[in-house]
Amino acid sequence: MALLHISNLRKDYVDPDGVARTVIDIPSFQLEAGRQVALAGRSGCGKTTFLNLISGIATPDQGSIQLDGRELVGLSDAERDRLRANEIGYVYQRFFLLEGYSALENVLLGMMFGPGPDRALARGLLERLGLGDRLNHRPHQLSIGQQQRVAVARALANRPKLVLADEPTGSLDVQNAEEALKLLRGLCEEEGAALLLVSHDAHLLATFDTRLDLADLNRASVGGPA
């Protein structure tokens, strides 16, 4: 059975001119547990919206999203929050680390809304990612590559079943990007988490065995950028 099962997913937006536009219209999509899939898509084709719908940050106008057999659509805010905290890890292009908190606290904060803070686990994750000597550094005291690794640690800290990555290497140089991707994929594999990564970076996409083009999945992107 698929970990993630999506059918007839649709999301409309009303643009500033008051015109309703469909940004996501995906008849079907599935992701098996533990699999790593790269989703290609040009800028503005709805990649982020798609991931936001899966994570429950945004709600679809219609359709079904099932995660591990549980229907997300129709869940209350609080239920979606709980699901996101426990089952889904999210790595953003801009990392979105909390500025006033250390690397360790950033990871711990992610755990607080899920199974609860586990300092040893958070520390271990950061050490595995080569940040053992940067635990108490604030984000602005870390390099971009180190910030990305903190974001990866935070996404995996709750041992999620699914990790979503939105242009996770978009802010990194080539060397750091390769390293970050390697770490992310390696950790997901170790933890048994499925990875759904979206990017427009052909070099990065080429490293995945399973690559899909969002334009092929999303009927809304046929007419041009959403």
């Binding site: 982020t48 805010d77 609080a78 929050d81 905290a85 999210y90 909390l98 904060l109 899920g114």
Partner: protein
């Protein structure tokens, strides 16, 4: 819970300046409200409910409040004089246990000089069951000599002590422009132990001393009479500023009040003294109300400062809340973060408010003591000590609502897409 504590603590520290200023404004408001109620209550109690050792004051026809202020609290000017005859009648009245004559008219460096009889040291109780006590090496004045017994505060402030000499000045208060210093010289023969009452600010001399002070004229007969040295003053010439009375029963007060205030036209009897002062406080009640309203307004301003300090951080914190929400924090959690922050600010402010309260009380208590000699019992419980912090916490919660709602309504996807 630990997450909430971490987020709240970090936020308050990150905005340390605005947090500090807000806490201080809450502290000021809390302290001010408690102080207004406490000082107001204690001032009223001190001036109206103190356990005096006497029951009534007789003085010239006029205001009872002025009579009490002048005689009991040694404030204000004398409303006029009463003839010696009235004193004698009251002294011999079966309803009166003690009649103590007071003659005023002079001061020394602003401290009132009261002419009276030796009974002030032997029979008079300035407070229920309490008589004046002389400090070691002191003695009561001799009615036939120019001797003075001074209150503890007079001794402390002027440096006078047993053996010191003083020349009284004319008038019950110091006149810095036209200070008429009498020729008569008095010797301090005694210093009283502190009484924590207005009497600490008084210089006691024999009654005749006031009458015989140079320039003083007696008008007991209706005509001016200036006493001559060595010549006894006829009772008809003698006048008094007031007569302090201890009555044998409350019924005596009723009948004397009726006799002097309603039937008689010569004098005024202030009885009961507490009720007389209560009239004054009732008349000045609007001032207390205004102070209370001002204090309440300060509370509103303090609550407003909580709102402003939290609300002003909301723009920068919207990103933080969006990230927290993306990590799984519930709307209720970020809502709670702001409410708890507001409560922590209010709580810290209230705790600090007790210090502000103590500081205001010490200041106000000292001021009242310096100006009137009345010592306020500032540490008496008042319900405001409980409901002010509770009210402030409630106001803090209300003030936190708006920014909390803003945090609650944070659109995660939109905020993160802006990447701000």
């Amino acid at each position: 819970m630990s997450g909430l504590r971490l987020i709240v603590g970090r936020s308050l520290r990150r905005h340390l300046l605005s947090t500090t200023i807000t806490v201080l404004s809450v502290a000021l408001a809390t302290g001010l409200v408690m102080a207004v109620f406490a000082v107001s209550q204690q001032a009223r109690m001190a001036f109206t409910g103190g356990p005096l050792g006497f029951d009534a004051v007789l003085g010239a026809r006029g205001s009872q409040v002025q009579l009490v202020l002048n005689t009991v609290f040694h404030l204000e000017t004398s409303p006029g004089n009463v003839p010696w005859r009235l004193y004698e009648e009251l002294r011999d009245d079966k309803r009166v246990e003690l009649a103590l004559p007071y003659a005023l008219g002079d001061n020394y460096e602003g401290y009132r000089i009261v002419g009276t009889s030796e009974e002030v040291f032997t029979r008079f109780e300035y407070s229920e069951g309490k008589r004046f006590e002389l400090q070691p090496g002191s003695r009561a004045f001799d009615a036939g000599r120019r001797e003075a017994v001074i209150g503890a505060r007079v001794a402390r402030e002027t440096g006078l002590g047993v053996g010191s000499h003083l020349h009284p000045s004319h008038g019950v208060e110091r006149n810095p422009i036209e200070d008429h210093v009498h020729e008569e010289e008095y010797v301090v023969c005694g210093v009283l132990e502190p009484t924590n009452s207005p009497n600490d600010r008084v210089i006691w001399i024999p009654l005749e001393g006031i009458w015989r002070m140079d320039g003083h004229r007696l008008r007991g007969t209706g005509e001016e009479y200036e006493p001559e040295d060595g010549v006894a003053i006829e009772d008809g010439h003698k006048e008094l500023s007031a007569v302090v009375l201890k009555l044998k029963s409350p019924q005596a007060g009723f009948s004397l009040s009726n006799q002097i205030n309603r039937v008689g036209k010569e004098a005024t009897l202030a009885w009961p003294i507490g009720a007389t002062m209560a009239q004054l406080f009732d008349k000045l009640g609007w001032m207390a109300r205004i102070l209370e309203v001002v204090a309440y307004l300060v509370v509103v301003v303090a609550a407003g400062s909580i709102l402003a300090s939290l609300y002003n951080t909301m723009n920068e914190r919207r990103r933080e809340f969006a990230i927290l929400r993306s990590l799984g924090a519930r709307r209720a959690t970020v809502f709670g973060v702001i409410l708890v922050e507001a409560q922590v600010i209010a709580l810290l402010g209230c705790a600090l408010g007790y210090l502000v309260f103590v500081a205001i009380l010490l200041g106000a208590g000292g001021l009242v003591r310096d100006q009137t000699g009345v010592v306020l019992d500032l540490w008496v419980w008042h319900p405001a000590f409980l409901w002010t912090p509770i009210g402030m916490l409630a106001m803090g919660a209300v003030a936190g609502l708006l920014p909390a709602l803003k945090a609650y309504a944070t659109d995660v996807a939109q905020t993160l897409s802006q990447g701000s």
